[in-house]
Symmetry: C2
Subunit: 328 residues, 2 copies
Amino acid sequence: MLPPTELLNFLKKEEKFVIATHMSPDGDGLGSAIALSTALQKIGKETILLCRDSVPQQCKFMPGHERFHNFDTLQLSAVSHQSFKNLILVDCNDIDRISTEVSQISNLKFQISAVIDHHESEKPFGDIRWVTPEAAATGLMVFHIIKELGVEMTEEMAINLYAAISVDTGNFRYENTTHEVFSVAAELKKAGARTHAIYRELFESWSEGRFNLFMKVLNTLEMKDGIAFVRVTKKMFEETATFPDDTEHFVDFPRIMKDIKVSILFREIENDYYKLSLRSKDDINVAHVAEEFGGGGHKNAAGCRIRADFETAKREVLKAFHTIPRAL
Amino acid sequence: MLPPTELLNFLKKEEKFVIATHMSPDGDGLGSAIALSTALQKIGKETILLCRDSVPQQCKFMPGHERFHNFDTLQLSAVSHQSFKNLILVDCNDIDRISTEVSQISNLKFQISAVIDHHESEKPFGDIRWVTPEAAATGLMVFHIIKELGVEMTEEMAINLYAAISVDTGNFRYENTTHEVFSVAAELKKAGARTHAIYRELFESWSEGRFNLFMKVLNTLEMKDGIAFVRVTKKMFEETATFPDDTEHFVDFPRIMKDIKVSILFREIENDYYKLSLRSKDDINVAHVAEEFGGGGHKNAAGCRIRADFETAKREVLKAFHTIPRAL
């Protein structure tokens, strides 16, 4: 995986960069942005890190996470940032993923913008684009940029990049885990990433409330035709003092059963209105089912919304699985 | 990690080997034994695989698992195996871990025995010993033996060795995951190990009964002073048609909470008699507590038995944590 020469030249030639990652940031976006920023600073560049939303709790161990500006603090440092004429989007390839507020975006007046991302491209944005969907994580791409820039991998960079890769491969569980992912992990470990501690911070730092929510959700489990249905209600959030973000990965859990091919989490938005997250194994295409209800996604991970009471919604979804070809 | 010359010479010089792994076999023992056996066959040797107990369900995807003999089927092939004068113990370093029955062991009359293991040594056994506690898995050691023998890594060997390493590192989660573990994983992936599928077989092939047992156990959760107590009763096994083996890893789960430092599973053996599994984080030494009740183990993973009703047992354990220095 070789970064394009155009991108490397841009990084070498220019002096000041705003490095931005997407709203609702995750370990891959944050870690990639921080590591890239640190590497550029090592070769004498100035960088500003930008993210609309705050760093989530489980990423606060990442060294340098406190360096992110949001749009408000960026404005406060307006004098300096006005001289930053270069933008680098990291872990997204669309300016709308940085902010949905036109006023915030229109304040960003850049001469050159570059994109470093591994998501499927939809809206072309950027003068220089390096978009590699086959890369398991943007962190992997930034690793190669740092190598090509000839910057020594510090412990701080290694922690950030390892976290990025760990998050986006489910700690080496997902199908995107190539031999290159393992090779890079080996180098990051050598460079000082304490991998066990990083795993714990990312995946094992639940609050007690989140654990209680998890139990409540799993206790709603129903199974039919290899499909697992679990449900989270507004009342459960209230009872456990938790928020929708706390349900992250809950939908994955029922797939631990050999006979479960599909797992669906119904999250109550309001009375008789549900947001569904669908996950499947192997060749079962849940995107087809989600599309039936006006949603979408990927083959094994999709989402949609249904306005109906729970029993009706469940019945409709089950029907869709049985009528759509190759859905089950 | 270089295998000793004496071991390599033994493997090259001799012709017929019985390769045995420990009772209650796991992925590391089985995978290491199969891969070593296959490699030796590639250079013209004859091998017999031996394990007292049957291959557990989650390891039945491992290619070659059906080649294991137990002591009965080994006896049936007595004529041939009598000519096998060399024993290799894999993933254990004590002949008592092969079988506790003296009659079975005394039937094994070998001229030379070798040991390949990563457990701490207690009872010296074997003419040739390669015991490397710092190796994350025996599979890692066998990988290096295969390299040194100059045998090409086949897909079958790669699957077995990857499974061995995945099991013993908790799929790269545990502290024993060194940079070398990642490098070897990269090579095994290149050689054809379908790592996502292997993960699923090893960690995500629960029966519905096991899932129901898990829910029952987690629903018993109590927390005090950073210690999580969960409990499994004989009634729960009956209700879910499961067995003690099905509780594997259950005790780990409460540690997903940031504030939980110790997790303890109480398994009811009979009325007012419990087997305890203790797990801890960081420097909390649960072996000290287990020893207090006549048990033992390692710093972060230990076990013991207590004859008392549940409430009394829990109180006694809690007291031990507060009285033993550095226990909490």
